[in-house]
Symmetry: C2
Subunit: 247 residues, 2 copies
Amino acid sequence: MPPTHPLNQEVSLSVIKTACSNCNLRELCLPLGLSLEELERLDDLVSTRRRIKRGDHLYRAGEGFDSIYAIRSGFFKTDVLLEDGRDQVTGFQMAGELLGLDGISTEHHTCNAIALEDSEVCAIPFSRLEVLSREIHTLQHHFHKVMSREIVRDHGVMMLLGTMRAEERLAAFLLNLSQRFTSRGFSHAEFYLRMTREEIGSYLGLKLETVSRAFSKFQEEGHIAVQQKHIRILNVSGLKALMNHQR
Amino acid sequence: MPPTHPLNQEVSLSVIKTACSNCNLRELCLPLGLSLEELERLDDLVSTRRRIKRGDHLYRAGEGFDSIYAIRSGFFKTDVLLEDGRDQVTGFQMAGELLGLDGISTEHHTCNAIALEDSEVCAIPFSRLEVLSREIHTLQHHFHKVMSREIVRDHGVMMLLGTMRAEERLAAFLLNLSQRFTSRGFSHAEFYLRMTREEIGSYLGLKLETVSRAFSKFQEEGHIAVQQKHIRILNVSGLKALMNHQR
DNA sequence: GCGTTGGCTTGATCCATGTCAACCACAGAA
DNA sequence: TTCTGTGGTTGACATGGATCAAGCCAACGC
């Protein structure tokens, strides 16, 4: 690298930090097995970053859609509102995951995306992603896989909501979180929940009291240790076994 | 058209009948606003048809994935099986809709697709669809919209399973079916259900007895007339009103 | 320190839906 | 025609989770 003026160097560093090619989430997010030249073109596409404060919306249902978002850091929930005021959390998203795929279909977002902690996302203009994915085949295929994975995930949630009882649902939820934290290099056994009991309940189709009781029961039975939002998983196979207590 | 030998003519007719360009479902399915030349290329892609008998599988969970399927005629359900034997119907699909999108993610199907009546589908080899959609932009965009629509639809089902009570679920289900029949040119008010009460229940997260009771209640209240699988909707707004009876 | 607030826990009670069981209706086979 | 099987309906009863209500805990501002 040629010597640079200190200020220039700082600017160039910050640019590097923003780039996909240098992002430690690149395996979870869009790019995968690209050539250097292709990575550069991707960096160019994903150049806009946005910071979202805890509690703020990344987008709202009804707003026009033009970008999908890759979460660089932080934690989000998405929820859908019915006219009568009822709402349901449709998912929790963490670093390395994508947000906004629902907006492609109508060109309007169909749910709200809300940060559960201070977060940072990369905006990916969708029409430009389509252009680029025509040229980079692996990008195209990877994107199709990501969309398909979302459909499969939703089927899993439908299964959970349609056939599982309260404790099974919570066990499945905890195991899923644990697995996702693990694949991001965090502890699989110890983590902080970013969402309230009410949000968990909404996601699982339960009332917050039921969620709370299930947490207490799991603790009594020695499967987990709960202290507010701090969770330690003591017995993974115990939790897995719980998932077969069908009615 | 040049004069042909009778046998040739018959062959040529059957080819025409198979083609996308001549399929009366073309607005619902993949192609949309394509040039003649583009339509021909699509016809070439979607050349394999398969007949599936009532009760037979189009594909099974775990099988390798290589094609998605456009339903040309008939009616399907998809379901997911848990190891412990529980299963859940994840959707009902009718003519003009696509099947198999879940398989893209892992290159294996993740659910079973079963014909609820004698049906006919067009197989669309996925890798060739990807090639063609790189070249035909409207095809690419339409396909992305279709996948996204599937995600939005699943969110709707999650909402239904997570926040609605039994009668609301069934009302939503009937209204959805009615709307889909309508958009295919069938009566919005009168149709035959292709699935059993048990399958409806599985889809809605209810037991078949609950579904049956809800049908009876709707009939008592004059919203519908039920005779086995034959349904007449007498009062659409009544059903819609039912959907706001939250707890 | 103290009070306030939001989130969490726990208990008592209720009710929607599941469960179990009997019976009915239609379709297809004999 | 009767027989048989599958799917549908209906009733009586059981129960998981919702609801209502009280109190607890930790964080934060004063």
